[in-house]
């Protein structure tokens, strides 16, 4: 039909782009994951060997899985909770509230490379700002990013610096909660905390859910900050899946192996997202 053709003409840029930059690479990546391929030679079929090595013979892989899960399961819920509480705090009417909102939002738009460079300096063990402040109260702070028992905690704390974006989303959501609900609750004698738990929280669950899912998907791809700040170290304490994949692909040029890693990552992300959607009906409230 003519109408069909016109429609396809309009969406053709995306259709072509999807085929060339998403669909074909997607399929190619499955195939590659069954090969041994270093850029110099052409790919040779090795069946499941890459997966076998990954699962049974590569401790770094398990370290990366563990670290990624820890990061995703701690940093993401922590960020969601912190952003939610911050949004509640910023939703009150006091003078200068717009200034506060701006302050909490600003870090969100600071380029990751810039903030990483700044953190590197602020967290310098000897002459950094943070340990300087801790010395004021007589504490000699740890080496943060350079101490394997602190590096993960440090990265998780740094992730909170950028929650301003989620705060904005929650603030917008809070504006959409009908005032009549609060009125009714107030008449029934509910106090501030009760109103927050019984009205605000349930009404906000769709937004919280969205943030949780996107947060988890992003956490699995967590890369730039770790690459700049720790490069996976010390002693692989911050080796994340995306980092390990990058090292395998671009340092060792082990593209088949890295593709297998990508696929394991994909399956993990997809199943966790699917799992979250399964719980969706139980706690996400829609009008």
């Amino acid at each position: 039909m003519r109408r069909d053709r016109l429609g396809y003409l309009f969406i053709s840029p995306w259709l072509i782009g999807f085929a060339v930059f998403t669909a074909l690479p997607f399929i190619a990546s499955v195939c590659l994951s069954f090969t041994h391929y270093t850029v110099a030679s052409s790919p040779t079929w090795v069946g499941l060997a890459n997966y076998q090595t990954l699962l049974f013979d590569d401790p770094s892989f398990w370290t990366a899985i563990w670290n990624t899960l820890v990061y995703a399961l701690v940093a993401v819920p922590l960020g969601v909770a912190a952003a939610f509480v911050l949004a509640l705090l910023l939703n009150v009417e006091v003078r200068g509230i717009a200034v506060y909102r701006t302050i909490f939002f600003l870090p969100h738009i600071v380029p990751v490379v810039a903030s990483s460079v700044v953190f590197m300096w602020v967290l310098n063990p000897q002459i950094g700002l943070v340990n300087g402040i801790l010395r004021l109260v007589g504490i000699e702070g740890p080496a943060w990013l350079q101490d394997p028992s602190w590096s993960m905690t440090t990265l998780i704390m740094l992730s909170l610096w950028g929650i301003g974006g989620s705060v904005v989303i929650y603030l917008a959501g809070l504006k959409d909660v009908p005032a009549s609900l609060y009125e009714a609750a107030r008449i029934d004698g509910a106090n501030v905390v009760q109103r927050a738990i019984h009205i605000t929280m349930p009404m906000m669950t769709p937004v919280i859910f969205f943030n949780l899912v996107m947060g988890i998907i992003h956490a699995f791809q967590y890369f730039t900050q770790a690459y700049i700040l720790t490069s996976g170290g010390p002693q692989e304490s911050t080796l994340f899946l995306a980092l390990y994949l990058f090292f395998r692909a671009w340092r060792y040029l082990d593209l088949g192996y890295a593709s297998a890693l990508a696929w394991i990552m994909f399956v993990l992300v997809a199943s966790i997202t699917y799992g979250l959607f399964k719980t969706h009906k139980r706690w996400v409230h829609y009008e």
């Binding site: 396809y8 999807f18 810039a114 692909a249 990508a262």
Partner: protein, 286 residues
């Protein structure tokens, strides 16, 4: 909740917000402070132990403005700025125009498999980039584009799923009668799109342009994978390279970081509303 608070609670709210604001602001303040210091103010003297923080550490004296000039030359900031600007302009133009065309198709034209295709488009937003990264790299290398800007520009000429989604939502709010009457007058779909829909959609186009600008300005992974010639480095990548080569030059690193951040902050203050509304709609439409 927009609660109206009594004076006591108001004071408490201010206190809490100020205490919480410190960790959000202090790193940036410290960055500016360091960027204006001489090395003698940054590093402890030979044999002296690192000292606790003192409030006058925040104020550089004397003020070393020359750090900024030094960073411009040493990084080399201007070369990277030029490259970044070229990439930003091209990416914004390509991404916004191509996404708008596609979004119009999805919003206003009827064709077979429209709904499933749109769902497919939404699903690609959740696909981790790592899955397609390696074959994409091989493709661009095969084409001889490795080391050029092309891999960092061409993909955005084919529509960006998030933008297509946002624009489609916006296009759907344009009254059907307006478009229908233009059709009756014999306007082609392309004319309707160009002359009617696009001018009405400036807000959403601006939001997407802003998002794309930020994305390109901040992008680290793209240049990391595809650029190998220091003359083509972007600011994000160049700054990281400078850090890994001259890690200890904190005053210059902070000056360069400040100059890298400044345009983004400036843009934010100029377009605050577009900014905040854009982020809010991205979040709530999910």
């Amino acid at each position: 909740m927009n609660a109206r608070l009594g004076p006591g609670k108001r004071l408490l709210t201010h206190a809490i917000l100020i205490v919480l604001a410190i960790p959000f602001l202090l790193p940036l303040v410290w960055m500016v402070s360091t960027s204006l210091k001489e090395d003698t103010q940054i590093f402890p003297r030979e044999g002296e132990a690192a000292s606790p923080f003192a409030i006058d550490n925040l104020i550089p004296s004397p003020v070393a403005w020359h750090n900024y000039a030094d960073a411009l030359v040493e990084v080399p900031f201007l070369t990277y700025l030029g490259n970044t600007t070229v990439l930003c302009v091209l990416n914004v133009v390509c991404a916004v125009l191509s996404s708008a065309v596609v979004a119009y198709g999805f919003a206003r034209l009827r064709f077979r498999f429209r709904e499933p295709l749109f769902v497919l488009l939404l699903m690609t937003m959740a696909l981790p980039a790592q899955v397609t990264m390696i074959p994409q790299f091989m493709l661009f290398r095969e084409l001889g584009w490795y080391g050029t800007f092309l891999p960092l520009i061409v993909p955005s000429c084919f529509g960006v799923p998030l933008f297509i989604f946002l624009m489609r939502q916006f296009f759907l709010t344009i009254p059907e009668e307006m478009i229908e009457s233009a059709r009756m007058e014999g306007a082609s779909e392309w004319q309707i799109f160009r002359q009617l829909v696009m001018p009405l959609s400036i807000p959403v186009l601006a939001t997407c342009a802003l998002f794309q600008f930020l994305h390109t300005w901040n992008d680290f992974v793209g240049p990391l994978i595809y650029l190998n010639d220091p003359n083509r480095y972007t600011l994000a990548y160049g700054l990281q390279q400078f850090l890994s080569e001259y890690g200890g030059r904190w005053s210059h690193l902070m000056a360069a970081s400040a100059m890298f951040i400044a345009p983004v902050l400036l843009l934010f203050f100029l377009t605050q509303r577009t900014f905040i509304q854009g982020i809010a709609t991205t979040g709530s439409k999910g």
